[in-house]
């Protein structure tokens, strides 16, 4: 496919084949399954080929890009999850009230908003008009990178808007899930029994209702990580944040296939790994499904 692309760009077929061979760790004229095996071999030894667009090894670009995405995604996931759980529980206790209705509707609407719409609107209002936040970039380029307080605060300052965009688009589903989960736990007999025993309200809320209601949400944590990675393509693009999503977004219009493959691979591995972690966490939190 890459050869076809170069031929269309005006290279003669042999030259094109040679150029492509220089970019990928397999011979592009081999049968597909041998190419795939060689690609896997290359992957295991850390060689994903060269980017067409940046003319650099993919592995180098990814090693540079992964920390940025990991920083953004984990920060926004933690904020959105904990905030969503708290709000969801609050709404479950006040269900039927006017606040609950407004929040439920708002949550289901923001859940359906495309991340780039939220991102762009945040940029236009908070960064461009109000000038409260920087327009783009991961940190202030005037501050030398390093473990100084100034640099780290600049990091968080620049991450505010992207994180806010992630949180707005993901918090809705946490709120709604937590609300329905809490409502069903509140109907359980052990809650009534705990109330009858005269346990302090705070204890019932945290260790009886909260703990049991939050459990099912951990199971959907992994899926939401995949969703967030999908959104990172847009949000990092809008904020010029040098993460994986930004590189993926740049490589798509340029049809930089090696780069796209690398980004997709990293994303998928990250999602599968976090899925695994979520499962481990889940079995620690819920003794009922602990193995052995």
């Amino acid at each position: 496919m890459m050869i076809m692309q170069l031929i269309m760009q005006g290279y003669d077929p042999e030259d094109a084949a040679r150029r492509v061979a220089g970019m990928v760790p397999f011979v592009p004229t081999d049968p597909v399954h041998i190419q795939y095996i060689n690609f896997l071999k290359g992957f295991l030894s850390g060689d994903l080929g060269k980017s067409i667009l940046y003319a650099q090894p993919i592995t180098m670009i990814l090693v540079y890009a992964i920390p940025w995405t990991a920083f953004l995604v984990s920060l926004s996931l933690v904020i959105s999850f904990s905030l969503g759980v708290l709000l969801g529980m609050f709404m479950a206790y006040r269900r039927g009230g006017i606040l609950d209705r407004i929040f439920s509707l708002a949550a289901s609407v923001t859940r359906a908003l495309p991340p780039y719409v939220v991102g762009v609107i945040l940029v236009l209002t908070l960064a461009f008009q109000a000038k409260w936040f920087p327009l783009m970039g991961p940190y202030d380029s005037r501050i030398p990178p390093g473990f100084t307080l100034e640099f780290i605060s600049s990091l968080f300052y620049h991450a505010t808007l992207p994180v806010l965009a992630y949180v707005i688009t993901t918090i809705g589903s946490w709120i709604l899930q937590m609300k329905s989960s809490t409502v069903s736990v509140l109907g359980e007999y052990y809650v009534t029994a705990a109330e009858a025993r005269g346990l302090p309200e705070r204890r019932i809320v945290t260790s009886y209702v909260g703990r049991n209601a939050v459990l099912p949400l951990f199971a959907s944590l992994a899926i939401s990580i995949g969703f967030i990675f999908g959104g990172s393509t847009f949000i990092e693009n809008i904020y010029s944040y040098p993460g994986i999503g930004r590189y993926l977004a740049a490589s798509v219009p340029a049809r930089d296939y090696t780069m796209m493959m690398g980004c997709f691979l990293v994303t998928t591995v990250a999602v599968v790994l976090s899925n695994f972690l979520a499962d481990l966490l889940y079995s620690r939190l819920d003794p009922r499904i602990r193995l052995g």
Binding site: M1, M4, L105, S108, V109, R111, A112, L113, P114, Y116, V117, V120, I121, V123, L124, F128, L135, M136, A222, I223, G226, F227, F229, G230, G231, T233, F234, N237, I238, L248, A249, V252, P253, R255, Y257, M260, M261, C263, F264, T267, T268, V271, V272, N275
Partner: protein, 301 residues
């Protein structure tokens, strides 16, 4: 709750103008849901007859670049002096056609897989649900990007819809399967089985009508998902250029420095706002569907 849902569904399926009237009344009484229906109708009308009513002049006029909204150009003009409103109207047809096709395909796939998985059970169930889990875990948008970019030609609406549905069926198939599993334990299915009715009868006459509410809701959810993914694909530049698609409009606006140039804002914000409004419309409509099918959610008895 299951009982009330199924009874309600049966009543609805049994048809009769009275029930339609009743459902309409529920939508009518709830102003929020009603506005959702209105939004959907307006956009559908726009997609259906809009392109015939609003002429779209493709001629570039450099002097008219990024005109602010005026009586002549309701939403201003784009980078080549073309009317933004006309582009929105012409683009809406494409967006809605693909979204509708994709939603129908997605729902069909997830119904077939969800029902066969839940109804047949056993090894078929395990195999199908493992498959669904794999699709659920893979980040769907990057996967879409890879699939679309590896097909080196212009895709028709049906092909885009097909790709969208292949990637997106899993999240709808799972709830349908869960529903089938719980319906299978209901007394009316059990008694049908005791009566010796055939599996085909149970499937189509007993099970399927009770799934209809869920299918209707999945359809709406699938439309929302398809609009999002499709516009996103155009926005990120994975699809060939067409001057009227909303995603392309957003992309061109951002590439033209819309984030730092207020003159471009009308061109950037009009497709975005359309997207937000239409998504909100479908979500509000979904709320009213839930209310119709589940009487316990109704605000006033």
């Amino acid at each position: 709750m299951a009982q009330s849902i199924s009874q309600n569904a049966e009543r609805l399926v049994a048809g009769g103008i009275q029930d339609l009237k009743a459902s309409f009344k529920i939508i009518w009484r709830n102003r929020v849901s009603f506005s959702g229906l209105i939004i959907i109708l307006v956009f559908t009308l726009m997609a259906a007859v809009g392109p015939e009513l609003v002429p779209y002049d493709r001629m570039p006029r450099v002097l008219d670049r990024y005109l602010p909204p005026s009586r002549e150009h309701v939403l201003g003009t784009d980078y080549a002096g073309r009317d933004t409103f006309a582009q929105i109207v012409h683009g809406s047809r494409e967006v809605l056609i693909v979204a509708f096709l994709a939603a129908v395909l997605t729902t069909t796939i997830s119904i077939v897989i969800g029902i066969s998985s839940g109804f047949l059970g056993g090894k078929t169930d395990t195999a199908l649900m493992t498959c669904a889990d794999i699709f659920l875990v893979i980040p769907s948008f990057p996967l879409l990007l890879i699939i679309v970019t590896s097909i080196p030609r212009v895709l028709s609406a049906l092909e885009i819809a097909f790709i969208l549905s292949v990637v997106g069926w899993a999240s709808l198939a799972r709830p349908i399967r869960t529903r089938v599993l719980s319906l299978k334990e209901e007394e009316f299915i059990e008694s049908a089985r005791c009566l010796g009715l055939s599996k085909v009868h149970i499937l189509f006459k007993e099970l399927f009508p009770n799934l209809l509410p869920y299918i209707a809701m999945s359809l709406v959810l699938a439309i929302v998902g398809a609009i999002y993914s499709q516009v996103s694909l155009y926005f990120i530049g994975a699809m060939p250029y067409t001057s009227t698609n909303w995603g392309i409009m957003i992309q061109t606006a951002i590439n033209d420095g819309a984030l730092i140039n207020p003159k471009v804002w009308p061109y950037l914000l009009s497709p975005m706002m359309c997207l937000v409004i239409i998504q909100t419309g479908f979500i509000l409509f979904l709320h009213s569907l839930e209310e119709i099918f589940n009487p316990r959610l109704r605000s006033e008895a």
